[in-house]
């Protein structure tokens, strides 16, 4: 430490530097979050004011536990997160290895990787809605050449194909991010390690298992934390692509909470869903922090 003043005075100054930002975070994020928790124990339905508002204990949570629509959204969200992030991880790793091997990350390649990441998720979703439009979309038009029947090309009308669209487009949008993160991780692995391994007679697969994967771990974990937490909160993507349909087949937890709050104006019930989402993603974050090792967070 090159700090020369007394430790307490130094700390006071540090807190002064931190105060504005922490105050803002406390007011706009932490206080509302506490308010959400409080709301989740309340009856607060703006559309039905005659029911009154007030403390109803765990009634919202009890209602959730017995709501099939909630459990469907719960399973949907975990399924979406697991499948999308795994696909993005595998494809992103393959692409990163290929680009690293080819040693050709030209500006053009990098821009091609950044573009899907940089546009709003709902804009990407709208683009894909056009590409899969059953009447004049490019993809159904292409598949029609192979004898697919017209009614099988209305992807969003069937739960399985609707999920395929939701997952495939999410993978399209986010694999480039994964690739960039992993590529950055690969680029800091010293080349001579591979030369030494080759001298010792290691095969390409052995070098990958014993060298690349362990050394890539920090980059892998950070990319996974970001992607998993984002996938778990998926909202705009589903709102735009399927609107939760057909039926309620593609609803995510965030989508369900949003509908409960802003469509049905059930602030208490919606807040209870939010608290459960929050707890789930908190558990995820803790798991990841444990994997990362808290020591690494504070370097």
């Amino acid at each position: 430490m090159s700090w020369r003043a007394s430790p307490t005075r130094a700390a006071t100054r540090a807190y002064l530097f931190l105060a504005p930002a922490l105050l803002v975070i406390a007011v706009v994020a932490l206080y509302p979050l506490g308010f959400t928790l409080w709301l989740s124990f309340q009856q607060n339905i703006i559309k039905l004011p005659w029911l009154g508002t007030g403390w109803i204990g765990l009634a919202n949570y009890r209602e959730l536990l017995f709501a099939p629509r909630f459990w469907q959204a719960f399973c949907n969200t975990w399924m979406f997160t697991l499948i999308s992030v795994s696909l993005e991880l595998v494809l992103g790793l393959l692409a990163a290895l290929a680009i690293h091997r080819a040693r050709r990350l030209t500006g053009f390649t990098r821009a091609a990787l950044l573009l899907p990441w940089a546009i709003p998720e709902v804009v990407a979703a709208v683009m894909w809605l056009f590409l899969i439009n059953p009447a004049f979309g490019l993809i159904p038009g292409f598949l029609r050449n192979f004898g697919f029947a017209d009614n099988s090309l209305v992807f969003l009308a069937h739960p399985v194909t609707a999920w395929a669209v939701v997952i495939a487009t999410d993978v399209w949008k986010n694999t480039p991010f994964m690739t960039l993160m992993l590529l950055a991780g690969l680029q800091v692995i010293p080349e001579d390690l591979y030369e030494a391994a080759a001298m010792d007679g290691a095969t390409g697969w052995q070098a990958f298992r014993r060298l690349t994967l362990p050394l890539l771990k920090p980059a892998l974990l950070v990319a996974l934390i970001f992607r998993t937490s984002q996938a778990f909160m998926v909202f705009g993507h589903i709102y735009t692509l399927t609107g939760g349909g057909p039926g309620n087949a593609t609803e995510s937890l965030a989508f369900l909470a949003f509908q409960a709050i802003l469509n049905d104006m059930r602030f208490g019930y919606g807040s209870a869903i939010c608290i459960l989402i929050f707890l789930s993603s908190f558990v995820l974050a803790l798991l990841y922090l444990r994997c990362l090792g808290l020591g690494e967070v504070n370097r």
Partner: protein, 273 residues
């Protein structure tokens, strides 16, 4: 150096094509007159170019208002994030105090919060304060996710600034604020700029809060406006594609020009924090 296996190059070309092609197709389609746009077998290259869709979004839908909204909201939020965040990040990167690792950990955890958990309290506050449909509501709500992210990024950048100049200034009797303002901040300027770009992109792309806290066309930001183009019965595809192109072309140019910075920002938190 071994020769490139053809398979590897082919796979790379395919990967890049898959990334690029949808944009290319949307751009071409936005210029097609509706007879070609909705053809059963749409022509790959437009047989005639038409600017009608572009005229319609600006003249009839006043899309420029939504662009302005997005610029103000994303610009305002990034400004506050960088101003507040750089001070906090400086303290986290450079000053000694108790509970630093706990604070950094909590900031990371906050940036993993599900934003939907804030929709109901913020909606009730904004409604009570008459802030629905205002820039203030969007900027305030964007700070919730953008500020922790900016702090996290900037902390990584401040750590890369060499210590020596700060030490020299301190020996000359400069106070903490002077060292921060005259030495560290200018030295970290490229990092601050990068953090500002990333924060801007995240706010520019935000959808959930923008959808929840705006109720009319004039106050919507770009992503919400584009989604709301569709009516109950008709979807004006030509106009949607034109709007998508209008907002994607500047992003593409920005990404092309600032790619190194953006990538360094994306990976700053990940490696050697």
């Amino acid at each position: 150096m071994k020769r490139q296996p053809i398979l590897l190059s082919a796979a790379l070309v395919l990967f890049i094509a898959v990334n690029f092609f949808p944009f290319f197709w949307i751009l071409l389609s936005s210029l097609k007159p509706s007879t070609q746009l909705f053809a059963y077998h749409p022509p790959l290259w437009p047989r005639a170019f038409s600017w009608e869709n572009y005229r319609a979004i600006f003249a009839e839908r006043h899309f420029q208002v939504n662009i302005l909204n997005s610029l103000i909201v994303a610009g305002g939020a990034s400004f506050f994030c960088v101003a507040l965040g750089s001070m906090a990040a400086y303290a986290l990167a450079r000053l000694a105090f108790r509970g630093k690792s706990l604070l950094l950990g909590s900031i990371l955890v906050i940036s993993l919060f599900p934003p939907v958990a804030l929709v109901s309290p913020l909606f009730l506050f904004f409604r009570q304060a008459g802030l629905i449909n205002t820039y203030a509501a969007l900027i305030l709500s964007y700070l919730t996710f953008a500020l922790p992210l900016t702090i996290w990024l900037l902390t990584a950048f401040f750590r890369q600034v060499p210590w020596e100049l700060e030490d020299a200034a301190r020996l000359d009797g400069a106070g903490t604020w002077q060292v921060f303002w005259h030495i560290s901040l200018p030295l970290a300027a490229p990092g601050v700029f990068t953090a500002a770009i990333l924060t801007f992109i995240y706010c520019w792309n935000e959808f959930l809060f923008a959808l929840a806290f705006t109720t009319n066309d004039q106050s919507r930001t770009i992503p919400v406006a584009i989604v709301m183009f569709s009516g109950y019965h008709t979807t004006p595809w030509g106009q949607i594609l034109a709007a998508v192109t209008v907002v994607t072309v500047p992003v593409a140019l920005m990404v092309l020009i600032l790619q190194r910075r953006i990538v360094s920002g994306l990976t700053a938190g990940a490696l050697k924090g």
